[in-house]
Symmetry: none
Subunit: 287 residues, 2 copies
């Protein structure tokens, strides 16, 4: 834990503007040190003292332990993934939430957030789990926390325009990974699509029924695991044919889709990343 904090960190942690915080420092409400150049530095103990004596609420506790740079730089993003992983494994939902929100509010697109922070974090969590470094409940708890946060981020997206095209999607039966279809849904919503996520374990037949019922312009399919390749490909072909019949595009993605499997498949777009999905969807919408 860091000892000295910048005014910005403290301002964010207690939920006031930097200007007000500095005024409080100058009024002596907070113990303040100064660098040789005149910049304020606030010892953590003094901040805690202030919180105790003034009764001021602590809005964002996680910031007090976090590095100050919340930007878009590569290193920042990498560190964010590690941080997210640690917070998720520890079940520190507040910390994870505030870090994710920071990244979003600092202008990172949701699809990039998913690609560069959340997906890597869960890849690592998956690794930890396979190597027995963490328990299953930690992985499940992490999913719950992340899902909650994603749902909250969804609320922060701008309202859809009336002419937003419809996309439906999810994962076929046998695929238990709920997060990636939610991430795909969010990426599409961010790109202006009315994306409906059906979740995991959707039989192909009901996908086809949905295609004819709600007539989407796009079907997104998240493929995290394929228990048995040959029948899966057959099922996919059924879906693809149904989509083509109603003029819907099909985008597939997910780490189970190896190059070999993809060679067998016919699709409108294969998306390596959620960013790919978003750009593809934007292009499709324009046409």
């Amino acid at each position: 834990m860091r000892e000295l904090l910048t005014p910005r960190q403290v301002a964010q942690a207690i939920g006031v503007s930097e200007a007000s915080l500095k005024r409080w420092c100058d009024r002596g409400l907070l113990l303040t040190q100064k660098t040789a150049g005149g910049h304020r530095r606030l010892p953590l103990s003094g901040v805690l003292e202030f919180l105790r004596t003034s009764g001021h609420p602590l809005i964002d506790p996680a910031v007090l332990g976090l590095p100050s740079n919340v930007g878009k730089g590569e290193t920042v993003i990498n560190r964010a993934a590690e941080h997210a992983q640690r917070a998720l494994e520890a079940g520190a939902d507040e910390e994870f939430r505030s870090e994710t929100f920071n990244l979003f509010l600092n202008g990172n697109a949701l699809c990039d957030l998913c690609d560069k922070v959340l997906a890597p974090a869960f890849r690592n969590i998956g690794n930890s789990w396979e190597h027995g470094r963490i328990e299953v409940f930690q992985e499940r708890r992490a999913c719950e926390i992340c899902l909650r946060t994603l749902h909250e981020l969804r609320l922060m997206l701008p309202a859809l325009s009336a002419d937003a095209p419809l996309a439906i999607g999810g994962a076929l039966s046998g695929d238990p990974y709920v997060l990636s279809s939610t991430m795909a849904e969010l990426s599409l919503r961010e790109a202006g699509w009315r994306a409906e996520n059906f979740g995991v374990g959707i039989p192909v037949e009901t996908f086809c029924a949905a295609l004819t019922t709600v007539k989407p312009k796009l079907v997104f399919l998240s493929v995290s695991t394929i228990p048995d390749v040959a029948p899966w490909i057959e099922r996919y072909k059924t879906l693809r044919a149904a989509a083509t019949a109603v003029g819907a595009a099909v985008s597939v993605g997910g780490r189970a889709l190896t190059e070999e499997i993809r060679r067998e498949l016919d699709y409108t777009a294969y998306c390596d990343t959620f960013r790919h999905l978003a750009t593809f969807a934007t292009a499709l919408r324009a046409s």
Copy 2:
């Protein structure tokens, strides 16, 4: 989402003058925090608490970030289940959301909301699905919508007190129904517990590991389906023994727990409804 609101925002939202609102704050009718400069800040959860308990109408929901038509109509909890079912089957998420919020703001406890509206609605949806009246995707979409709304309601609960006891829970492997453990989590949080939901498909061993790691005071187990009774009971007994070893209570619930099966089980409490769970948890907390 804004955590803290200014008196002006709240005054506009509930349709009274700022002067009156400030008097109410000073009389303790609304939970109020103050900035170092003496300005009032009102946490959203406290405002909602006030609205729910006082029955005061909500004039301008948009200010609080709520759906635009909450607080408008008289929503009776009796017909609500049917309405919710229709909206969920149709994928009308906004409609479902605003109706659920209405019920919440009208002072209905979350556990009652789950018991009297959401659970019946999903029972009916399950029936419709079994009789082929709706497609699988409609049921899954309904789950997604409901889960999102539950997560949103979670944000509206007042902050946990520092001494809130810890509860963990979820559903054992083989149980696919995610909603009920989330409802249990919410009911417990409303009752002042720091409830952590691990979700579905938790192996018994990792439950035991969690018991020794995080040392909860309560384990809640949601049982919607039991694929094979005898081994399930064995697994449960392992869990129960581990809980007893660390002094944790065990509450079970769910429609798969028939009377026959319950006779075989040893537990601290069997909860027919989420209301039962809440009252049991409150009693346990008091001791």
